[in-house]
Subunit: 367 residues, 2 copies
């Protein structure tokens, strides 16, 4: 089955994904029988185009990276869309009704979002599912703010809503739980899931002030432009909410996570903790207390030999507590654009496998 991809957002992650699909095209075809084409691209600053017969995605990457506008993508049936995700979905409904009806259209949602209210990503996901598209997103907000609603909508529409990249880029978290831990009850989790704060705390241990350390992260392009999203714990809270909603069948939003960031922590305290052989880490937790699930994000003093204490720099890690397996940890030791783009690829291959009536071929045949 040929999948049609519509990109809402075409930033670094989406463009790296296009490159990865190219690099792996032969393997994807031979091992999984996977084939896709790009039919729409919607950007905020480089225009938006649609062509139900297929667009040249590699050329679109070049155009955007050289600062051009996507209306340079000529082609008989290429039309210019409004550069707004919701209107782009309307455009898909008009221009690609058969792909939507046949369940072959996948919206790849990678817009920049405000993690404090979940928009515009949540609106994009909702509109796309309502229109009959499947959705793959690298954004954490839809699953953090509206997982129950969007899951229900996807089920009613007989479409899939996938979001592996929401917590640790391409490192399996949701797929780990969904595909490899059947019949398990997750009783809680704790994790270091925000790279900026982790890096800042490392630098403060070495003597830097909070603001010096933060400026370094911003200079390296690791911190968000608005540092509050990282340092006030919003990013970690959104990830905690996503994990609670999916792994623990919870019903929370980032606003219901008890949230303490690292702003205002002084270097002397960070160094004093370190001098005692312990380490300060911004820890995201979910735990079941009686019948309620409590989520929190806070700087915690961890023993030096705690698994999370040892995660330095941009390393992230998650410890999942379960009924049958005890605790399982999965750690991301490298991070970058490729890892995030890979999350989109795994979701797309899962979707393809499910649409083709089972697992991806290679998985069934074990070859």
């Amino acid at each position: 089955m040929m999948l049609d991809l519509a990109f809402i957002g075409f930033g670094n992650v989406a463009r790296r994904f296009v490159g990865m699909m190219d690099e792996k095209a032969r393997l994807l075809k031979s091992r999984y029988g996977f084939a896709c084409r790009t039919v729409a691209i919607c950007t905020r600053r480089h225009g938006a185009v649609i062509n139900p017969g297929g667009l040249d995605a590699a050329r679109a990457v070049e155009i955007v990276e050289s600062g051009g506008s996507l209306d340079m993508l000529s082609g008989e049936r290429t039309s210019v869309l409004a550069p707004c995700g919701l209107r782009a979905v309307d455009g898909l409904k008009k221009a690609a009704p058969s792909a939507l009806e046949q369940g072959r259209l996948v919206v790849i949602e990678t817009t920049v979002l405000d993690v404090r209210n979940g928009e515009p990503a949540t609106g994009h996901v909702r509109a796309a599912l309502e229109s009959g598209a499947h959705v793959v997103t690298a954004n954490k907000a839809p699953v953090a703010f509206a997982y129950g609603e969007l899951r229900g909508l996807a089920t009613r529409q007989n479409r899939m809503f996938l979001f592996e990249g929401a917590v640790m880029d391409g490192i399996p978290v949701f797929n780990l739980w969904r595909e490899t831990l059947p019949a398990i009850t997750v009783t809680g989790f704790r994790g270091v899931v925000n790279s900026t704060t982790n890096h800042v705390l490392d630098r403060m241990e070495a003597g830097a002030s909070f603001f010096e350390a933060l400026a370094e992260m911003q200079g390296a392009g690791i911190a968000e432009a608005d540092p509050s999203l990282d340092v006030d714990g919003w990013d970690a809270a959104a990830k905690a909410a996503a994990l609670i909603n999916v792994l623990m069948n919870g019903n929370v939003t980032p606003l219901s996570i008890a949230r303490t960031g690292i702003a205002g922590i002084d270097t002397a305290r960070v160094r004093a903790v370190r001098a005692r052989g312990r380490r300060l880490r911004l820890v995201a937790r979910g735990e079941r207390r009686e019948s309620v699930i409590v989520g929190s994000v806070a700087p915690i003093e961890l023993p030096g030999d705690d698994l999370l204490a040892g995660l330095e720099g941009t390393r992230n890690g998650l410890i999942i507590d379960t009924d049958l397996l005890g605790s399982v940890a999965v750690l991301q030791l490298d991070s970058g654009l490729t890892q995030t783009a890979y999350a989109l690829l795994t979701d797309l291959l899962h979707l393809h496998g499910a649409l083709c009536g089972g697992r991806p071929r290679a998985l069934a045949a074990e070859d």
Copy 2:
């Protein structure tokens, strides 16, 4: 689809698995539509029985645990088998030909084996696949000694050969790779995968002699009865071979793994390494060098902040190096009988999902 289970080996792991299936029966039925019954049990010391109409597995557990013989399991169609795995497979061919033809029969192989030659487990797996059964095993030897052959046989027979428990009990390793890391190339791995040697090295750091530490592990029931399997690195070598064969598409056996154990290491050396802030760990590795894959097991002096150095006691861990994700680590923080039994359960649910034309229901529906 009702699966028929035939146990070859009915030791602690298999019996814990029977209990787990009972505890989770309602969830397995409602969430996955999963149902099974036990049709044969073959033990070395408690007899062997078969009844294609179904045996009382819970009663069989009681009988074996009270030292009785399985021929006490009465029932109209229950016959006594020869207590030998290969003959039991012959018995299945005669007594349950329709379940074999229909692909509903699953042999659960958990016999005690000699990891230096892979028998009798490898023979059991081969005979079961040849007879038309699927195979789920907790033994590492079949995949370590004969993965290519058994995978080919399974493919020709249109049956499945699953072995999640081979390396880190129920912690996903093979399923992690197969189900959550599609299109990835594994370029290497290193891991601490043998609990006994890890524990012994911990105790030696604390001042115990090698033999004192080993005796403690034997007293606690953690070490193998024949300590050579652990301390000479055979167990870790079999796991390294299994990982190379499956994750790296290799073609090795435990005999081709360069193997150095920890026997003969003295406490002074272990303590001297520790005093330098480093730790000695028995590390299993696989790495691609030019076109060959090299596997090794050896005690390695690791920096104190190495992820594997921090794994104490019975904690195990594996770091997988990949092309698209960089390095991913998965760690087993708790271990025991339940974890090993859970590996059988995950394999059985995967098998059931594949037979039912796709993923287990809950995985597709996300509910």
